[in-house]
């Protein structure tokens, strides 16, 4: 009789099973319904606005920007909450231990969790963006290629946030993790700019620039306003650079998370 430990385990299958577990749990918790209800209120508001009448094109563009920005941040919030609670909750509920008792690597476990959190974020992003885009009046010219780039960068942004939230959840309490990353998402660019301006007289402008550049910057991956401003698409090098930026932070967060989790005493 063959020992259980010797059975060949397909890592893709392990990862997909972990991811499936997260998806089922998210559906059970029904958090995303809140976001869809919020977006529903927005769409209803748009319908009322269009019935009443929109005075000018600038207001139409503002409403489109408002809807798409709401959709982007809603998806980011859902991703952050989903990713940040995975490991701490499983440890608290002690469901992690029987899971890792099975032939499942800790790295695979983490990748499965990330894949699910990023997938949930990307799916909700696509649905919410579609609601915002269809619901809002489009009274000016917008670039279709820029819209595609905006969507791709938003998905990469969601993936990066999921990876960072998972990695930080291994070293920081859940509430701290959510607050710090939430602040980075919402006011990260302004806060980093302010920190840079304050640090420049002390350490010099170049050093301040270099140090603060390590802080994950989600705002460069948010090009919604560029799209609604009617600006043309990003050139190839810029787009590839932004994608690489997100991939590096995502990869590093996952690799560092796997390394920390692999050595952690449970």
């Amino acid at each position: 009789m063959q020992a259980v430990a010797a059975l060949p385990i397909n890592p893709v299958r392990s990862i997909s099973l972990v991811a499936r577990g997260v998806l089922l749990e998210t559906i059970r918790r029904q958090e995303f319904y809140v976001l869809f209800i919020l977006m529903g209120v927005y769409v209803l508001g748009m319908i009322v606005t269009m019935v009443v009448g929109i005075e000018n094109k600038a207001v139409g563009t503002f409403l489109l920007n408002l809807g798409m920005t709401m959709a982007y941040y809603s998806a980011m919030v859902l991703t952050l909450l989903t990713a940040a609670r995975q490991v701490p909750t499983e440890m608290e509920n002690r469901t992690l231990y029987p899971l890792l008792g099975k032939p499942l690597g800790r790295g695979e476990y983490l990748v499965g969790k990330w894949l699910a959190a990023a997938g949930i974020g990307a799916t909700s992003l696509a649905v919410l963006m579609a609601l915002a885009w269809i619901g809002a009046p489009r009274m000016e010219e917008y670039d279709a290629m820029m819209l595609a780039q905006t969507m791709i960068l938003a998905v990469l942004s969601v993936s990066m946030l999921a990876a960072l939230a998972l990695a930080f959840s291994l070293v920081a309490p859940q509430a701290v993790n959510v607050v710090v990353l939430g602040l980075l998402v919402v006011v990260g660019d302004a806060a980093v700019g302010f920190a840079r301006a304050r640090a420049a007289p002390i350490v010099g402008p170049s050093a301040a620039q270099w140090i603060t550049a390590y802080i994950p910057n989600f705002s460069i991956l948010d090009t919604v306003t560029r799209y609604t401003d009617g600006i043309g698409p990003l050139d190839g090098a810029m787009f590839v650079g932004l994608a690489a930026y997100a991939v590096v932070y995502t990869g590093l967060a996952l690799a560092a998370g796997a390394a920390i989790f692999g050595r952690r005493s449970l």
């Binding site: 606005t49 009443v52 929109i54 005075e55 000018n56 094109k57 600038a58 207001v59 563009t61 503002f62 409403l63 920007n65 790295g107 000016e140 660019d189 302004a190 806060a191 700019g193 302010f194 840079r196 301006a197 304050r198 620039q209 270099w210 550049a213 390590y214 705002s219 460069i220 948010d222 090009t223 306003t225 560029r226 609604t228 401003d229 009617g230 600006i231 990003l234 810029m238 650079g241 932004l242 690489a244 930026y245 590096v248 932070y249 990869g251 590093l252 690799a255 560092a256 796997a258 390394a259 692999g262």
Partner: protein, 312 residues
Amino acid sequence: MWRIVLLGGFGTAFALGPLLFSGLRPNDYKGGRSKSIEDSIERNTSSVARVLGEVRTSMSDIMFMKTERYLHNGIGYAPHLTESEIMGDAGSHEGTATTIRSGDSDFRGFVGVLERKVKPWRDPSLPHIHSDGAELLPWYRLMTASDPNCERCYAIGGWWLKTHNPEEGVKFLEEGVANNPDSFAIRFMLGQVLREVASTDATTAKNPAETGAAGDKLLEYSVRARDVFAEGAEIVMRVRYNGAFVENKAEWNDHVEDDATGVCRMAALMEEKFGDPVKALEMARRYHAKFVADRPLEKFIERVTKELEKAP
């Protein structure tokens, strides 16, 4: 093993991140509807903005609204953004509604009376009382720290700083120029502040020929102002279309045109005063050819041409 390779690879890319990713600024672009003053006025005077109340329609509007609130000593007024609204009858904006309704139009009775008593409020029919702007300065610092490409924030912040501490105003605007090398609007303001510093410091010196520290200071700052105006004018020559002003052509509104003509006029004038009048005349002719119809430049060309003809 693969974990070490992955961690090493991503770690190296992360370590070199400031070098590799420093140029990634997809949202640094000229123009755009969100930055357009005309669009902002349209948005903020729409029923949507009224529904949103004081939230207004963009973060920059919120920041500017804060500065406006401080400027009016805490009293909240409805936006007065168009030129006629800003100027009012005597530049004092009377008639602009307050965000807290006045007694004759307030349906809330006692609650309205209480709000007007306990919150900063002034009868909207009276002229506005403006503060000296000191409270506004941290907001401009905050705005430029959070968005180093906000040219408007640098230019207006520098103007306010000029009245309190001109030297700091110069530093602030020089930072603006460093962050926005293609901005002629910030250079226009920097040149004006440099002239202000020169005239403030040189209370006894009226022309650069005078000797002593005051005369040296006047000359030094005036020459710096001349160079800054000239740089600004060269940017205008590069970025402005040829011909007379056309409203909103290529995001070029009347505010932008005012800065563009202003920096070119000052560049020629300062070159005449603190440089070479022949060169100043050439500059003025070149600038005039760009704008086609600019009366101050025409008058300048006529005057300097006559003076050069008279000169031995």
